[in-house]
């Protein structure tokens, strides 16, 4: 999407849409606008009407059409995603004032236009029908609906105290500063701001650096500077510190055009996406990450080429002497080999993640610092000098909170759900018992609301102002992209007004003016002489502001590490879910429905055990197990997962919300936090001793994939070794040179092709969410997924190969292959699916009568049939709650009885061609992007014109690694099914020397 089409919401450009809750007039105009859109996006109910005269369709034009709005033309706004603390820049596509799609902001340096599933799904959060329509105040046991005026009135008399605290989620922008100012104004200490992120890695890493270097920062990792990446329980591709940015960067590091593509070695007890992507994966016992890290540090220290200054080495030596570790000999051997490689190559070691939040999680980060100093990463891939990451939380916020909370009178809980995201053992509910007023300010009703005296609906981040600074000097701005859909307020504005009502006002009219004032500092930094208004406008339009920040590296301080021994036996790990995070995505059907990438289970919580352990205990898939820890008891069904350590019991977080949280989550999953522990004020979610008992019941988990192995089907996924690739690298393939009886297809200006690089795909499923959002793909719910009726146009096939203990995991995004000799086309009796001159296998929904023959004929089984009319705004039948307002008006909505499938986002192709035609030029390579491609954090998907010899897609199709799925083995003149797809895959490359497979 071209730069010049984006708009800022600065008041001088578009006053109408700016959020100002007092103006009654605007609210009504917004209503009109909503109705107006109906005529673009109304359902196709009429398609089934049996008589000529349909119900009359209406058109409702604006009263005052904003100058920058043309009905039917999209407007894009740059803002910031607040789905997690990563603060990725996003561009929001709006139609007639209504957001319809979120994309990453290509101007945001670290993410480069990519986005994760949670960010993609934010639209469903915005339009969620269960958002609170108005504030609630507790009267006795009941929360009663009140007006905002009543809220202010009610609170003003209760805020005359300085015993005020704020509990909020992790944030990197000016928000924390603002909240502290608010506390200060009320006379409370600034420390009364408690930020909590369930992803404890931020705190652990920053804290370790605080201890080691005296600086509370998170180093930024640049994988492209490394040739060897070692992860010890790391989850940098699952959640990590900045998921999208790391994935993007990792992908660049693995690029095979580099002389030495970065190799990933992962040591872990559970199977994470990071581990699944690793070139070598070593399974270790849960809870022994710290031992492994210590052993690695010791092995490194013994290496003569180990890096680090003399003083640093002394301090490290002192540290290492305190700890002796005894590991299994073969593991010790592995570590010794790794240590040699680590010092030989530019390398980096990443330790810890949500799979390792055990009692040693903080210590692990300190050892990690020692390791990285020894392998020289701080001079290379890890940077605390340039563009370090800003920790979104304070170092001891939770401990401080536990200590202080008894003294508080008033506690604001803003955009955080501590009751759900902290283990039951933390006793949040107990701790706040004496707090007189708990004011819960949430964009979506959460569990914490049940303990609150006041529940105030605040803006969804797409309706709010804000900013974020994920990396030092790299700011992203956040502006509202839609008029508030409910009677919610900006949280910060509420605080400002509260200050005003208690006669302690801050000098800002609202949060926007506060931010404007802060952003003035950027303008001063930039110092290019432009006037601020112009700077403000361009910055908002662009969505990011970057300036270089450098700091000197500090010397390592002496530090100590306390290591707690973990007893042997089965141990529970409750990692953050890679879609639902800590549960903040659980109410979004699209996230539930994409399913976990490794188990392919949707809409559920499962217990994963290793295949061996399950067999040893005589357990089978779907057996319901009872898990008992010191803290509690939990029941969930079993999913035996290859690649786990035999002692590992993995239950993902994210589901198991209390009844009534959302109709979407009712009855879905269990919350492993009820059996998790707390130590030193911090949640422990890994390596918890656990006992398993069989309940004798079974529960069918809705796993989308029934078969996990490819067997000897060699032309679906291909792989080759790096050596093989290097040998043949210059060979050019012609995948289309397949003997054919028919004359060649007529070719127009374009022939669209898509390429998926299996070497790069990390299985994050962002493509699935993006596709669902772009193409109005419905979510069908648990029961239907269990029946195999999910509607994904692009699905993620996951295959395990090799040993069940050490499986190789392959992710294969599978969408319509747009075959030139499509088996589906010829069998359709009514020409509902035909071949387009541009190579696309067109699906004409309205012509389809639903014989489903095409789907049978499709060897890839990528066609999806509408078994029902999936309802739009109905929340009662919880499985079907899409909101029609979030629909993409450029894509036809399908009703029951109609086949559908991927069409390369034809609406985008069309749009791109129109743009080019209007500008009187040809379509440029890379100008048109499919939704999956645009969001892919791993850059695994390429799309373009195959007739353009210079295009990236053409190069990829001619690559030695290129192959066609089910295309046989062209090297031996065996062409498989001869469907001649326009989608090609690039074979996986095993970067390890050993165990290379044949290709060809």
């Amino acid at each position: 999407m071209p730069q010049n089409q984006r708009y800022s919401l600065a008041d001088d450009v578009c006053a109408d849409v700016a959020a100002s809750p007092e103006t009654e007039k605007n609210t009504k105009a917004a209503l009109g606008r909503r109705d107006f859109l109906k005529y673009f996006s109304a359902g196709v109910a009429l398609a089934s009407s049996s008589c000529v005269r349909r119900p009359a369709e209406h058109a409702i034009p604006y009263v005052d059409q904003p100058v920058d709005q043309v009905p039917g033309v999209a407007t894009y706004y740059a803002t910031t995603c607040s789905g997690c603390a990563s603060g990725c820049g996003i561009n929001v596509k709006t139609r007639a004032g209504r957001p319809v799609k979120i994309e990453g902001n290509p101007d945001h340096r670290s993410t480069g236009g990519a986005l994760c599933p949670l960010g993609q799904a934010a639209l469903q959060g915005l339009y969620h029908p269960e958002r609170r329509p108005q504030p609630l105040v507790r009267r006795g046991d009941q929360l009663g609906e009140v007006s905002w005026d009543d809220v202010y009135l009610h609170l003003s008399s209760r805020l005359n105290t300085n015993k005020v605290g704020i509990f909020t989620g992790g944030t990197t922008g000016h928000r924390a500063e603002f909240l502290q100012e608010f506390l200060q104004k009320l006379g409370a200490p600034r420390e009364n701001l408690y930020r909590y992120e369930p992803n404890l890695l931020y705190a652990h890493v920053a804290d370790a650096h605080q201890r080691a270097f005296g600086r509370y920062v998170i180093p930024r990792c640049d994988f492209t500077a490394a040739e060897l990446i070692v992860g010890i329980g790391s989850d940098f591709l699952d959640q990590g510190l900045a998921r999208v940015a790391y994935a993007k960067n990792f992908s660049a590091a693995r690029d095979l055009n580099r002389e030495h593509p970065a190799q990933l070695v992962q040591l872990e007890s559970t199977l994470s996406l990071t581990g699944a992507r690793a070139d070598e994966r070593i399974v270790i016992a849960p809870g022994t990450e710290i031992d492994v890290a210590l052993a690695l540090a010791q092995a490194l220290y013994r290496q003569p080429q180990a890096q680090g200054g003399v003083a640093e080495r002394q301090k490290i030596a002192a540290l290492l002497q305190q700890h002796q570790v005894a590991l299994a000999p073969d593991l010790q051997q592995h570590i010794a080999t790794l240590a040699v490689q680590l010092v030989q190559k530019p390398s980096v070691v990443l330790c810890g993640g949500s799979h390792t939040f055990d009692a040693n999680a903080a210590a692990l980060q300190q050892i990690a610092i020692a390791i990285n100093i020894l392998c020289g990463a701080y001079e290379n891939a890890l940077s605390v000098q340039r563009g370090w990451q800003i920790p979104p939380v304070g170092s001891d916020d939770l401990q401080r909170f536990s200590r202080d909370v008894a003294q508080l009178d008033v506690l604001f809980v803003i955009d955080s759900d501590p009751l759900f995201t902290l283990p039951a053992a933390f006793g949040w509910a107990e701790k706040i018992k004496n707090v007189k007023h708990v004011i819960s300010m949430q964009a979506f009703p959460v569990a914490t609301d049940s303990l609150a005296t006041h529940v105030l609906p605040v803006h969804h981040f797409l309706e709010a102002w804000g900013d974020a600074q994920t990396h030092a000097g790299q700011w992203t701005t956040q502006q509202p992209v839609v008029r508030p859909l409910t009677d919610s307020r900006q949280a910060e504005d509420v605080l400002l007004w509260l200050l005003a009502t208690v006669k302690k006002p801050l000098p800002y009219a609202d949060y926007r003016s506060y931010l404007r004032q802060r952003w003035q500092a950027w303008h001063d930094l930039q110092g290019d002489g432009k006037d601020f208004a112009k700077f403000y406008h361009t910055t908002l339009t662009r969505g990011t502001f970057t300036h270089q920040k450098q700091q000197a590296r500090r010397e390592l301080r002496a530090f100590e590490v306390k290591v707690q021994q973990v007893p042997a036996g089965l141990k529970l790990t409750a990692p953050l879910d890679n879609r639902l995070h800590d549960g903040r995505g659980a109410h979004l059907p699209v996230l539930q429905e994409v399913g976990d990438s490794l188990t392919t289970i949707a809409w559920d919580t499962w217990v994963a055990l290793s295949i061996k352990t399950a067999a040893r205990l005589g357990l089978r898939r779907n057996d319901v197990l009872q898990l008992k820890t010191a803290s509690g008891v939990l029941r969930a069904a079993l999913f035996p997962l290859p690649g786990l350590h035999d002692d590992a019991v993995v239950v993902p977080r994210g589901n198991g919300h209390r009844h009534g949280f959302s109709k979407v989550t009712d009855g879905i999953g269990v919350d492993p936090l009820v059996v998790c522990a707390v130590a030193e004020g911090l949640p422990l979610t890994a390596a918890l001793p656990v006992t398993l008992t069989r309940t004798g019941k079974t529960y069918r988990l809705a796993a989308m994939q029934k078969e996990n192995k490819l067997g000897d089907r060699g032309d679906i996924v291909k792989s080759l070794s790096l050596a093989q690739l290097r040998q043949h690298q210059n060979k050019v393939r012609d995948l289309d040179a397949v003997p054919d009886l028919y004359p060649k297809l007529e070719e127009g200006e374009h022939r669209w092709g898509l390429s998926v690089d299996l070497h790069k795909c990390i299985g994050c499923s962002a493509c699935m969410v993006a596709c669902a959002q772009e193409n109005n793909v419905p979510q069908v719910g648990r029961s239907q997924v269990a029946m195999g009726r999910e509607m994904h146009w692009i699905r993620l096939d996951r295959y395990f190969s090799g040993d069940a203990d050490k499986p190789r995991v392959t992710m294969q995004p599978m969408m319509c292959q747009q075959c030139n000799h499509a088996p589906c086309e010829a069998v359709c009796p009514v020409y509902a699916t035909t071949h387009d001159a541009e190579g696309i296998n067109a699906m004409t929904y309205n012509r389809c009568v639903g014989t489903r023959y095409c789907a049978n004929a499709c060897p890839y089984k990528v066609r999806r049939f509408n078994w029902w009319t999936h309802k739009w705004n109905v929340i009662d039948a919880k499985d079907y709650n899409r909101n029609p307002r979030a629909l993409n008006p450029d894509v036809t909505v399908r009703t029951r009885g109609v086949m559908e499938k991927c069409n390369f986002c034809y609406q985008r192709i069309r749009d791109g061609k129109h743009q080019a035609k209007m500008a009187g030029r040809a379509v440029q390579d890379g100008e048109i992007k499919t939704a999956c491609q645009e969001t892919c954090p791993a850059d695994a998907i390429t799309f373009g014109n195959l007739l353009d010899a210079g295009s990236k897609i053409t190069q990829q199709r001619r690559d030695y690694r290129a192959y066609l799925a089910l295309g046989g083995y062209p090297d031996i003149k065996e062409y498989g099914l001869k469907t001649l797809p326009n989608v090609s895959y690039l074979a996986e490359v095993t970067l390890q020397e050993e165990g290379s497979d044949e290709h060809g």
């Binding site: 196709v44 059409q65 035909t834 309205n846």
Partner: protein, 181 residues
Amino acid sequence: MAFKICLWLSLRCQLCIAVVLFFAEPAAAWWMWTPGDTVDNVGYKPKQPIAFSHQLHSEEHKIQCEYCHAGARRSPVAGIPPLNTCMGCHKFVATAKDPIKFIAARYQANQPIKWTKVHDLPDFVRFSHQVHGLAKISCQECHGKVEKMGVAVQKAPLQMGWCVDCHRQKKASIACLTCHY
């Protein structure tokens, strides 16, 4: 005798029914409607909130189509003008007339007007005014002589066959994806 008459009649009636079934119905359907066709027929003339006359505005007062339907050149939808476009003139012109009073009141109250669409394509058809405008298709080719219409009425059948015929004539694409995706 009765038997014979009955025999004869039943035979003839069967014949009639057969003829109607096999020939007349498809023939009629061809001209009017076939199953799955959701486009209204020619002559659709719904009642609108005010008696707006295209003839008055377009023919007598020579206002260009795109003055009001400004989206036609910039967007897939031509659009119905927002009230501020109307009020641009009607703040001063014909303010005493009832319909003008009506729209002025609506404008003051910030309430949009709900028009009934005359030309309505099904939602599974992707039609772009912009592209057709670019291809120098005049408004009248599809909408008829709107400038002669007191009340807007559907002139062309807007059915797929009608679209396709024109596309064929003008050598435009008749691939399915041109309109359906």
